[in-house]
């Protein structure tokens, strides 16, 4: 807890600096794409948020494993703290994807494998958060959500491949997804990197702040328990 106190304002400041730089650079100082026009610029929100939506879940999985193996209390709280951040990232990715999809594909939503996988990921986040909220005893909640996170990860990966299989079956060979990372040229690429760094820093800052809040809440509970006990 002690080392995070000085880190926290810096991570927020750095996240802000990177995001402002990356977004201003990306929105105003890059040329329009020859096929997509200016709509391509939503990439600076869409790709980093999608990346962080997945990374947040991976971080939760790692934290859950650490909790199960080492019983390190802070890791359970960090997993809990990351979940709402992850769900917001997933929502940002879905919404910006829809906004980007409308001019490009003529629709806000399609049952494309990638989009569908993200919708399923969103459901996994919801279940995970709901389970945390439903259980009163905090150690029990940490244990149960850790197991759910581990089992859920396996099923999330399965779902991803299942969705690819399913959609192939629907419309053979055609794919709506534009693989952005392979297509972008350097002019788009560097501001994108800056934006990704900004999102990563923002995620770290938010998770740190939320974890600190959780730790404080648990301290209060411990002190109250002591008070009752005495």
């Amino acid at each position: 807890m002690s080392w995070t106190r000085p880190v926290l304002p810096w991570s927020f400041a750095l996240a802000g600096a990177f995001l402002v730089t990356g977004l201003v650079w990306g929105f105003f100082f890059t040329p329009d794409d020859f096929r997509q026009g200016s709509t391509v610029k939503i990439i600076y929100l869409h790709v980093p948020s999608a990346l962080m939506a997945i990374n947040a879940w991976i971080m939760m999985l790692v934290a859950s494993l650490v909790w199960v193996v080492r019983r390190h209390h802070v890791s359970a709280l960090a997993a809990r703290a990351a979940a709402p951040v992850g769900v917001v990232m997933t929502l940002i990715a879905l919404f910006t994807g829809g906004i980007w999809g409308q001019p490009m594909w003529g629709t806000y939503w399609a049952w494309d494998p990638r989009l569908t996988s993200f919708l399923i990921l969103f459901l996994f986040y919801l279940g995970y958060i709901a389970l945390w909220e439903a259980i009163e005893d905090s150690d029990t909640a940490a244990d149960l959500t850790a197991v759910l996170c581990i089992v859920g990860s396996i099923f999330a990966i399965l779902s991803r491949y299942a969705v690819h299989f399913w959609n192939q079956g629907l419309h053979q060979g055609s794919s709506l997804s534009l693989d952005a990372e392979q297509n972008v040229a350097d002019v788009f690429y560097y501001p994108l990197l800056v934006c990704i760094a900004g999102f990563i820093l923002l995620f770290i800052a938010l998770v740190l702040m939320r974890t600190r809040t959780e730790i404080r809440a648990r301290r209060i509970k411990a002190l109250q328990a002591r008070g009752r006990h005495a």
Binding site: H73, D137, S138, D139, I215, R218, R219, K221, A222, L223, A225, R226, H229, A230
Partner: protein, 204 residues
């Protein structure tokens, strides 16, 4: 046969008992005493392996213990005989008819669990202990809702057929069972506040 040393246990993340130690050999029983909330149930559940101990050691022969809680685990849609046969089968045994007589259940053998009175259900729950053939019993308030006659009947079974056959019993109860067993008051083992590391304590 049952060796408990320096055991600490917690309820709801708060340490309640500390440094509980005792030894029991075949044929001995121990009666747990203490005010409500002192941790009798918690201690029994910890001994039965339902919850982890905070610290300390419990040693006993493998596959020898059984636990009986406040709830009897009786299925209301099954008959008395079916309930007992099921538990016997789970422990790899067969139901012997004399158990029904000993717990005064012979007349009720084909009644469904749901039609029994509270006291009759309790007798059925206790008869389970005679059916599963375990040497070490952890009994949590076994005499709740029993009349005096049934209490005496249960005490007789415990004394003659369980302890007399080399069994061990740890019993949390507020009444005098009339069996030959020392009492252990848990009050001195109460955890001091802030010691023993309950789950929230880790954050202080």
């Amino acid at each position: 046969m049952l060796h408990v040393s320096n055991l600490g246990c917690a309820r709801g993340g708060v340490a309640v008992l500390n440094a509980v130690s005792f030894d029991l050999t075949a044929g001995q029983a121990l009666v747990l005493r203490g005010p409500n909330g002192i941790g009798k149930t918690t201690l029994l559940r910890t001994l039965a392996g339902l919850q982890p101990a905070l610290c300390g050691d419990v040693t006993m022969p493998e596959d020898s213990a059984a636990y009986a809680s406040h709830a009897d685990g009786i299925k209301t849609a099954l008959t008395v005989t079916e309930n007992l046969t099921f538990w016997a089968a789970v422990y790899g045994l067969k139901l012997t008819p004399d158990v029904l007589d000993r717990f005064d259940l012979a007349d009720l053998r084909d009644r469904q669990g749901g039609t029994l009175s509270a006291g009759q259900k309790r007798r059925l729950g206790l008869a389970r202990l005679a059916v599963i053939g375990r040497k070490i019993l952890f009994l949590d308030e076994p005499t709740v809702s029993l009349d005096t006659g049934s209490v005496a009947m249960f005490a007789r079974w415990l004394q003659n057929d369980h302890l007399g056959q080399g069994g061990i019993a740890i019993i949390a109860t507020h009444i005098d069972l009339g069996i030959d067993a020392p009492a252990l008051d848990l009050t001195p083992f109460k955890s001091a506040p802030g010691t023993g590391g309950g789950s929230d304590e880790a954050f202080l």
